[in-house]
């Protein structure tokens, strides 16, 4: 539930950008014959509402309704006393504070005569909110709006790219605090990385550690003393004003292994900066790994903010279901290699194409 800096800055996320995103959503609604779209938000599913409004909840939950005209309506169970704070990060929406946000949205839909409305991730919508909407708007047809919303997220705009770049800079700087010659304890290293990230303005920082990478490559949330082995890895999942990245770095105390880590890091940066649109990601990774002698890809995963999750797994080794990305798309690529029998982990943001 922890949260750091939560602030909207007009120079980073102008109202005009939010208005353009809402207009694009409206175009898609008109194309699909919809009267509106409803998007749910809470601490772990904030991204769709953040994308359209700038707002991320630190507590409780809410629903955003975008209809064909007028200001979007944001209904939340957060108390009326924080309406001012909500408005400061959600400048374009009408704010409704209600213990029954679903009822408030349903009443608005009924009053506006809306007949057919999409809901992002309809199956996952909390059942209590669904019941409230239907009770207040009994004749309403609700359809799944996930594909519609995902179509809006195929390409990121300049404002989002800037905030992702800032999140990435924070992640890199935070991970740079770890000196493998000095770091001995996983919990202390995680604390060091998190502190640096938050001091630089991270909204959130989730740090995970594989304390003995040679023995177990699984990344564990670490906040207790545990010795760091010769080879270890840290993952920093960092949010900056609603935009999330992951960066994973492998660290070696042994100089020979360190040289191998540097080789893999350099190769991975090259891979991450050269992902081309319209081609299978799996094939691109397979082609690129041939340039790294002694390396074998053990697993990979691509995540992207195509729905309510900040980063949603959309393709992975053995499950390459959405592995063609378009020009201007954004994803986080996580990769596990074996490099001459040494495990290596990396993760980095990828801007597809130019």
């Amino acid at each position: 539930m922890r949260r750091g800096l939560m602030l909207r800055d007009e120079s980073e996320l102008p109202k005009a950008v939010l208005a353009q995103r809402i207009e694009t959503a409206r175009s898609a609604m008109r194309r699909d014959g919809l009267d509106g779209i409803i998007l749910y938000t809470n601490l772990v599913q904030p991204s769709a509402v953040t994308y359209l409004t700038g707002f991320t909840p630190y507590w409780s939950d809410g629903l955003l309704l975008v209809t064909r005209t007028g200001a979007p309506v944001f209904a939340t169970a957060l108390s009326k006393r924080v309406a001012g704070w909500i408005s400061s990060t959600n400048p374009l929406s009408e704010i409704i504070n209600s213990p029954k946000p679903g009822g408030a949205i349903g009443a608005r839909l009924a009053a506006d005569g809306c007949k057919r409305v999409a809901v992002l991730e309809l199956d996952r919508l909390p059942g209590g909110l669904y019941d409230e909407i239907i009770d207040a708007a009994p004749g309403l047809e609700l359809t799944d709006g996930s594909a519609l919303f995902a179509s809006l997220r195929q390409k990121i705009d300049g404002a989002e790219r800037g905030m992702i770049a800032r999140a990435d800079a924070i992640a890199l700087s935070a991970l740079a605090q770890v000196d493998p010659d000095i770091a001995k304890d996983a919990g202390a290293a995680a604390g060091l990385v998190e502190k640096e990230a938050r001091l630089q303005g991270a909204e959130e920082a989730y740090i995970a550690v594989a304390a003995d990478l040679a023995a177990d490559a699984r990344m564990i949330r670490m906040s207790a003393p545990r010795p760091l082995a010769d080879l270890f890895a840290l993952r920093a999942s960092i949010a900056y004003k609603g935009s999330w990245v992951r960066r994973t770095r492998t660290f070696a105390k042994n100089p020979m292994r360190r040289a191998a880590v540097v080789r893999a890091d350099t190769w991975f940066e090259h891979l991450a900066s050269s992902i081309s649109p319209g081609q299978s990601l799996e094939a691109q990774i397979a082609r690129c790994v041939e340039e790294l002698p002694g390396a074998r890809v053990m697993s990979w995963m691509a995540e992207s903010p195509i729905g309510s999750y900040p980063l949603q797994s959309i393709a992975a080794s053995g499950r390459a279901d959405h592995s063609n990305f378009g020009e201007g798309g954004f994803l986080v690529l996580s990769l596990q290699l074996k490099l001459d029998a040494m495990p290596w982990l990396g993760a980095a943001p990828v801007f597809v194409g130019s």
Partner: protein, 350 residues
């Protein structure tokens, strides 16, 4: 479950509302969502949609079955077929995904939120011990906060100090909001980049989590020396909190505690400031959720039992000095209560 005639319970959890899931699985989820089945024979199956969380659950929860379910709702919906003709409870009702909730009649899926709430409110000795340890970390966290607070620092920098301290101290999670300023401040929120300046009141509630259990502390400090109005206002909040704490004992209701706190404000002519226009609750339960039931309000008639853990906090807006907070965690006993937080009840000055 046996008493309620249930064959299985389905619980939902995410990083915001994780208490029902944690109670059943002991898993502290961070990303994505989870559903878990608890069978009457003790078997537990945890479904997670985040592959990153699956890695962690396999390490943290070795005694339960962990399943990676990228399409969480569809996979649990299919798994429910196994329970046809059995009685299934679900909690928390409001957050059960729509696709599953829509089958409640067909699957005999009953709302068992109240049953789980009763289990969550009544604490075992081991649970109280975890909250006791969390309360100690709330105290030491507030000491770090005071140390970090100085003119010129931004509010989020204070949070950074706290979170780093907690990560290095075995605290996986913390809920914290903050207020910085004077009479214009009407509540607390996440940090917004305000820099501390001389004369500011800095309010915070810190809620560290130990082994899944949260404890909370609320305190107010002043940057520089407090003025006469701030000192006078603080005395009122202290009187109200102590009146509330003095009321806590097994057998009373949550309303009794709220009334004791609010009467102090009413006696001082500030009755308007204990309404929902200015404040949310006069305290609440603590446990596997930072803001558990019962809420301490004059219309909440939940009975307080021994071993229930609560924070008593008369936090509200004061018309002269602004939003002020003060709160301590207590555990109810037959005779009264034990206060678990030990930070002095002072208006601190830094």
């Amino acid at each position: 479950m046996a008493e309620a005639g249930l064959d299985a319970v389905l619980v939902y959890g995410n990083a915001w509302q994780n208490d029902y899931l944690r109670y059943a699985t002991d898993f502290g989820i961070l990303e994505g969502q989870a559903l878990a089945f608890i069978l009457r024979n003790g078997e537990v199956t945890l479904y997670l949609d985040s592959p990153l969380e699956v890695d962690r659950a396999e390490v943290d929860c070795r005694d339960i079955e962990v399943i990676h379910a990228p399409d969480l709702v569809a996979e649990v919906d299919t798994a429910l077929e196994r329970f046809r003709n059995q009685r299934i409870g679900a909690a928390p009702h409001r957050l059960i995904p729509r696709r599953i909730a829509a089958r409640r009649n067909e699957l005999q899926l009953s709302d068992q939120t109240a049953l789980l709430d009763r289990l969550l409110m009544g604490k075992l000795d081991a649970e109280v011990d975890a909250i006791r340890r969390a309360a100690q970390l709330a105290d030491s966290g507030y000491a770090v906060f005071r140390q970090a607070a100085r003119p010129g620092r931004a509010d989020y920098e204070l949070i950074a100090e706290i979170e780093a301290f907690y990560r290095a101290s075995g605290v996986d999670d913390n809920f914290q909001i903050i207020g910085v300023g004077g009479p214009e401040v009407r509540g607390m929120a996440p940090p917004s980049g305000k820099r501390l300046k001389h004369g500011d009141m800095v309010t915070t509630e810190l809620t560290p989590c130990v082994e899944g259990y949260y404890a909370q502390i609320c305190r107010t400090l002043v940057v520089g020396d407090p003025n006469a109005d701030q000192i006078k206002a603080f005395a009122l909040y202290r009187e109200a909190m102590e009146a509330g704490i003095a009321t806590v004992r097994a057998g009373i209701t949550a309303a009794d505690i709220a009334r004791a706190e609010n009467e102090v404000f009413r006696r001082h002519g500030l009755g308007d400031y204990v309404t929902d226009q200015y404040t949310r609750v006069r305290g609440h339960g603590v446990g596997l959720f930072a803001d558990s039931k019962p809420h301490i309000l004059e219309d909440v008639t939940t009975r307080i039992d021994s071993c229930m853990t609560l924070i008593v906090h008369p936090n509200t807006y004061h018309p002269v000095v602004g939003y002020m907070v003060l709160g301590d965690v207590v555990v109810a006993t037959p005779q009264g209560c034990e206060v678990l937080t030990e930070t002095p009840r002072e208006l601190f000055s830094v």
